[in-house]
């Protein structure tokens, strides 16, 4: 057993002159136990839907486990998030969403007054759910993960220019969606 890149790894063999390091599945389980809340939350902000988020996380973790069995992954959390973002961008692109379900926050059920539940954050959340998957992914990586445009381009496998254009379109669209709501509220 040796330590490499913050992860303990098992030397399983020698190929040519290089050591083959493969982390054990127990270590993957440890990683999942620690990272799961954050991954589920990331899936939720990415998809905007609890069931889709759980599907996305388990799909990404399944792929990551298969990759984990074959080779060492230096930054497993980044790896899983990358798989999630790309799965989301491709999967949701190929599935027409006939009905957009905009869920209430799980914790909001404790509020008795309906008007109190519809606060500013819910309005923006609903507006985010109307974005195309790619634009939403860019917004989530930018404002939830606080990644730079360069890092977003790296995660999504697209150019920095595409990140900029997708981001600008998304913000413009959000501004368009939120503007009438603001007017209505001021009118009230």
């Amino acid at each position: 057993m040796t330590t490499c890149g913050g992860l303990s790894a098992v030397i399983v063999g020698v190929v040519g002159k290089s050591l083959v390091l493969v982390a054990s599945e127990d270590q993957f389980a440890e990683f999942v136990a620690g990272a799961l809340p954050r991954l589920l939350r990331f899936g939720y902000v990415l998809t905007g839907d609890v069931a889709s988020a759980e599907d996305l996380v388990q799909t990404a973790l399944g792929r990551s486990l298969r990759a984990w069995r074959l080779r060492r992954i230096d930054d497993p959390q980044a790896f899983v998030k990358r798989v999630m973002v790309n799965s989301y961008a491709t999967w949701y692109r190929s599935h027409l969403r006939w009905e957009v379900v905009i869920p209430e926050p799980l914790n909001s059920l404790t509020h008795e007054n309906h008007a109190e539940r519809i606060d500013e954050r819910d309005v923006v959340w609903r507006a985010l759910s109307k974005l195309p998957s790619r634009q939403r992914a860019v917004i989530v990586l930018r404002y939830y993960e606080d990644l730079s445009e360069h890092d977003i381009a790296d995660v999504m496998g697209i150019s920095v220019g595409t990140v900029k254009s997708q981001s600008a379109r998304a913000l413009r669209r959000l501004a368009d969606v939120l503007a009438p709501i603001e007017v209505t509220r001021r009118g009230d």
Binding site: A29, V32, A33, L36, P37, L40, R41, G43, Y44, V45, V50, A53, E54, Q58, T59, L61, G62, R63, L65, R66, P105, L106, N107, S108, E120, R121, D122, V124, W125, L128, I139, V140, Y143, Y144, L171, L174, A175, L178
Partner: protein, 248 residues
Amino acid sequence: MSDLEDRIRAALNDPRREIPVWPDPMPRIRRVARRQTLKLVLTSAIVAVVAVIGVAAFVKSLPAAGNGSPGLSGGPSPKATRPATSGVDGLPAVGAPGYPAAIYPPAVRPRPAGAGAVTACPAPIGLVRPPSSARATAIALIDLWETGDRAAALRAADRAIWPVIALRTYRAPKPRPTTEPILYAGPLKAAHRNFGVPNPSAWISSSCGAATAERSYLVVTGSQNEPALQGDWVFADRAGHLLLYFRY
């Protein structure tokens, strides 16, 4: 825009939006990983099977190596027939639209006694003695060979000579037919040659059988004084369709 960005950050980091963590995630993840592996294996297997079938079909469509006449059947018997050239060089397969199998059956391999003089023979099935009016039709078919396009040449020929047509280059049709004189037009067996020019009747008989030779029609073109430049065109009549099948 910064106000909008702040609102987006607040919405995305809304602490009320949390998902309950799975109590024991690993069995679930292992199950998903197994399903993904199975899907990958099945997809790979299907792709491999499709690829093997495609390669096998391609190899099957290639001419058989080692014999002079690609894809011919084993002998002049009509039972032992196989597509002579189907799928090769874009030639129509047996039974392809416009080429009924009754008129364009697969060619057959010539008998060894022919010693290579004829590379393929017309299937004996459906062959009849050409009528007396065959002369005009045969001359028209020769003109078609010289001036027509590839499709027209295929329709005017038996599959025995299709490989030759496949090798010919058909450009724009020539403006006028051949003006070579017709030296002979009649039954193959009745033709007599002088000046030492080989008589194709003997070749056809030994290669394709006496019955086929009996039912063949010969047209000889060229100059009487230049036997080496004369052309022999041998036809067979199958169900009323005169078809060129040998040219020398």
